[in-house]
Each structure stands twice: as structure tokens, then as C-alpha cells.
């Protein structure tokens, strides 16, 4: 069920839970940007910072890593693709395929970056209530007169609300089809179609039901919203995060490419 996605809010009272959402959104933006360009030295610094954050908020790291196992499979693919497709000095030669030194290096770098960015996102999502994210999105969109901020914010939070539902329905549908022997069909396109069509239909149906239920509870766009207020701690955290990012770029700039 909802356990299927590790990306959901976990109640708590840590520093990160209390942080103003707008600041947290800025943090993920700058950290992700810095992380995308980082090399090994600065990646280690960033990893160290992130792990301290994880320890400070008593994040259940073990269970999270277990839930992220599909993501690790994805990372293995990314790594393999990089390792096999980058030209350079061959390290291992196997059945005519070269695994190059540059490819290995590149693969590790890319996977490390991706992993860190996913962890940052995970920290954000699991310490922030959906209603706060919505309020923050609204706040960031309010200076733009031509974007209906409230509507965008609602749409976004509903999409997030629907992710576990879609996962659950996908699992249920695929189990039901396996129970009726769909695995005997070897054609993956056939199987995908048989899974996708009912899944899309069911998702639309539950979206429709949700819309009716929201209407029955007087849904309007003009509603009470969470007040966002920044404290001194938020500004201090912003300062620290910016320092961290400057440090990261500095490390890379001054030639420590390894």
C-alpha cells in the first residue's frame, strides 16, 4: 500500500520538520544544482553533510534503504550503461565489450550524484506535510499574475496524493492478471497493454470519485491556508546551506578533480 513508496510524510518534531517550507524548497534547489556539478571530493563533503542531517533527525535509514531497492537497480543500469558506452582505456575486456577506466569513473560519479539528489528529495518529502508544500508553491507562484497559483498548487498536491494509489492499483491489477496466467504470454508489449489499459481506467475512476468527495466537502480555491513564517533558525540554515554550496564549488574549482 502506501508503504510502497518511501516518498511520503513521516510525522516528527526534528529541526527539519520545523523548518519553513520555502527555505527547504530553496535548499533542495541549490543543493541539487551543486550536487549535479560536483566531483568526488565535493561529493564526499556533501554526503557527509547529508548523513549528519539524517542522523540528527533520527531518520529510519535502514528501512528507507530497503524501500529504495528498486532505485538501486535503476542505478546499476545507469552505471552499466556508462561503464560500457564510454570510450577510453579498457580496464576489462569481455566478449568484445570493453569496460573502460573512464566509463567506470563516469558511472560512479553519475550514480553518486543521483543517489544524493534522491536522498535530498527524500529528506524533504518525509519531513514536510503536503499542505505545507502546497502553501509554499502558492507563495512562490504568487508574484506571477498569469499563473493560477492556487490551482497549480492543488493539482500538484493531488498528484502526490495519487502516487501511492496508482502503485497499489498497479500491483493489484498485475497480481490479478498473474493469477490468471498472464506470465505464459511472452510478448511484453501484450502484457504491458493488458496492464496499462485497466490501470489507466481505474486511475481515472478513482480520480473521479475523489473529485466528487472533495465537492461534497465544499471544496473551494478560497480556503484557509497554512501560514508560513520564517524564524531566525531558517535564516541561519539558509546561510549554512549557501556556505556549503560555495564550499562545494570551491573544492571543484581549485582543481581537486579526484
Amino acid at each position: 500500500m502506501a508503504e510502497l513508496t518511501p516518498f511520503s510524510y513521516r510525522p516528527g518534531a526534528s529541526v527539519l520538520h520545523q523548518q519553513d517550507v520555502r527555505f527547504k524548497l530553496v535548499f533542495i534547489a541549490v543543493i541539487s544544482l551543486a550536487g549535479m556539478k560536483a566531483y568526488f571530493m565535493s561529493l564526499s563533503v556533501l554526503s557527509f553533510a547529508l548523513f549528519s542531517a539524517i542522523l540528527i533527525i533520527h531518520f529510519p535509514l535502514k528501512s528507507i534503504l530497503k524501500e529504495l531497492r528498486y532505485f538501486f537497480i535503476f542505478l546499476i543500469f545507469v552505471f552499466a550503461a556508462r561503464a560500457l558506452c564510454t570510450s577510453g582505456t579498457p580496464l576489462i575486456e569481455f566478449m568484445g565489450i570493453d569496460i573502460t577506466r573512464e566509463g567506470m569513473y563516469d558511472g560512479i560519479l553519475v550514480c553518486w550524484r543521483l543517489l544524493l539528489i534522491v536522498l535530498v528529495g527524500l529528506l524533504f518529502v518525509s519531513t514536510t506535510r503536503l499542505s505545507e508544500i502546497r502553501a509554499a508553491v502558492e507563495w512562490f507562484l504568487s508574484p506571477f499574475p498569469f499563473i493560477p497559483g492556487k490551482r497549480v498548487a492543488t493539482m500538484m498536491s493531488l498528484i502526490i496524493r495519487f502516487i501511492p494509489v496508482i502503485f497499489e492499483q498497479a500491483k493489484e491489477t498485475s497480481d490479478a492478471q498473474r493469477a490468471r496466467g498472464v506470465e505464459n504470454r511472452k510478448n511484453p508489449v501484450y502484457r504491458l497493454m493488458k496492464l496499462a489499459v485497466p490501470l489507466v481506467r481505474r486511475t481515472f475512476e478513482s480520480a473521479d470519485k475523489l473529485a466528487v468527495a472533495m465537492e461534497a466537502r465544499c471544496y473551494t480555491e478560497k480556503r484557509v491556508n497554512i501560514e508560513l513564517y520564517a524564524t531566525r533558525n531558517d535564516w541561519i540554515a539558509l546561510f549554512l546551506v549557501l556556505c556549503l554550496c560555495v564550499l562545494l564549488s570551491a573544492i571543484d574549482m581549485f582543481g581537486c578533480l579526484y
Partner: protein, 249 residues
């Protein structure tokens, strides 16, 4: 006092099917009404007219004297609806957020929202779950969460559409207890079901629907023997000529 006055309402769906057909009814404040009928007899369609989710093609519904079409928000606040599928009613990321959804839509004060949410959660015994994620609740707890979401809007009428579907025996009892205590607190209760056994002992009035019409309307003990002609199972005790005992005993 009549809280609901339904005058000759009919509704035809866009594909031409007749959903409900000339229904006339009045429901007094504080009544406990059970609406029964086979699948597709129009129970859900009828109930959706009570809070303006559907509007009738002809006729009108008045809530405490005011037509629904005149003030739909008021209608939805007075008539709270608990749907058949509790999963698809959940809007919030946590139990607390979900219950707060309704009062927030009514643009109430922040402290008032908070007060109402904790009151509603207390009423359904879910206070301990305020920070829990709703998907992780059991079936009976989910349905009680749906009730709390409605209670936070302070309705006078509470409509339950198939409140016992997918519930086991303890879950059914939890929900039944909830319904009973809401009725005792003065709410008008409407329950649509095709399974009379579980609720009929609590009801003051029984309506039977067939093909979009109300075909029988009266005291449960007067009409319960005739319900099988309309695709509703007569409760066992009634078949055996005994008085129907509540499921709660």
C-alpha cells in the same frame, strides 16, 4: 420539523437512462431512515441529490426550508455524506489534514479548524491516529475517518452510502456504534444499503427503492416482510417471526 423536503424530483443521466423517477418525501429532523433496494435501484443517485452533487431535472430538494440549488455550499455543510468507497474519499496526507479539509474549505478561523478537528477525532475515537497516514488505517478506521471528516463540518444530516461494504464483524460493529451515537446526539441519519440485517433494528423508517422510485415507505416492522419482492433479503429473525435484535447486542 422537516429537515429534508423532496418534491417530485426526477433525474435523467446524459446517456438517457432514468436515474430516479418522481420521488416525493419529507424527512423529519432526528429521524433514522434506512433506504434499501437492489443494485442499480437508484439509491446512490437519490442520495447525491440531497447535497447538490447532482441536481434534479424536475422538482426540488429543500434543506431546512431553503432549496439546495439556491445555496449549494450550505447544503453540503448541512448534509454530510460518507461514501461507499472510503479510500477514494481521503484527501489529506495525514489523518489530521484529512479531517481539516472540510473546515478549511468553509474558511473558518485557524483555531476553530483545530478545535473542530480534535473534537471530530475524539468523537470517532481516532485521536491517537492524528499523525498517522490514512492509507495505513484498517477498513473500519478509514470509514470512521470519513465520518470525522464530515463531523468537522457540523452537519445536521449524515448520509451513509453502503457503510458496511468491505467491513468485517468488528469493523461493522465499530461503524454501527458510531452511527448509533450520532443518532443519539441528535443527527438525522440516512443509510443506503441492500443488507438490512445489520441496521434495521436501529431504524425508525424504511424506504424501498426500485427502478428509481420509492415503492415502499413505512415503519420497518410493517413492511419488512414484503421486501424480498424488491431484491432485498429479509432479515433472518423476521423470517422466523421473531423480533429483530440489534447487531450490537
Amino acid at each position: 420539523m422537516n429537515i429534508l423536503e423532496i418534491e417530485n424530483i426526477s433525474h435523467r443521466f446524459s446517456d438517457g437512462a432514468l436515474g430516479i423517477d418522481r420521488i416525493n418525501l419529507t424527512i423529519r429532523e432526528g429521524e433514522f431512515v434506512v433506504i434499501a433496494g437492489r443494485n442499480g435501484s437508484g439509491k446512490t443517485t437519490f442520495l447525491r441529490h440531497l447535497n447538490g452533487l447532482l441536481l434534479p431535472d424536475t422538482g426540488m430538494v429543500r434543506i431546512a426550508g431553503v432549496p439546495v440549488s439556491e445555496n449549494i455550499v450550505r447544503a453540503r455543510q448541512i448534509v454530510g455524506m460518507v461514501f461507499q468507497d472510503s479510500d477514494s474519499q481521503i484527501v489529506g496526507e495525514t489523518v489530521y489534514d484529512d479531517v481539516a479539509f472540510g473546515p478549511e474549505n468553509l474558511c473558518l478561523d485557524k483555531s476553530e479548524v483545530k478545535r473542530r478537528v480534535s473534537e471530530a477525532l475524539r468523537a470517532v475515537n481516532l485521536e491517537a491516529f492524528a499523525d498517522q497516514r490514512p492509507y495505513l488505517l484498517s477498513g473500519g478506521e478509514k470509514r470512521r475517518l470519513a465520518v470525522a471528516g464530515i463531523l468537522a463540518m457540523k452537519p445536521r444530516v449524515i448520509v451513509f452510502d453502503e457503510p458496511f461494504s468491505n467491513l468485517d464483524y468488528p469493523g461493522t460493529k465499530q461503524v454501527l456504534n458510531q452511527v448509533l451515537s450520532l443518532h443519539n446526539a441528535g443527527h438525522t441519519i440516512l443509510v443506503a444499503t441492500h443488507d438490512l440485517e445489520k441496521v434495521i433494528a436501529l431504524a425508525d423508517r424504511l424506504l424501498i427503492m426500485e427502478d428509481g422510485r420509492v415503492v415502499m415507505d413505512g415503519l420497518p416492522e410493517d413492511i419488512i416482510m414484503k421486501v424480498e419482492a424488491f431484491g432485498v433479503r429479509e432479515p433472518c429473525a423476521s423470517r422466523l417471526g421473531m423480533k429483530i435484535d440489534s447487531w450490537l447486542n
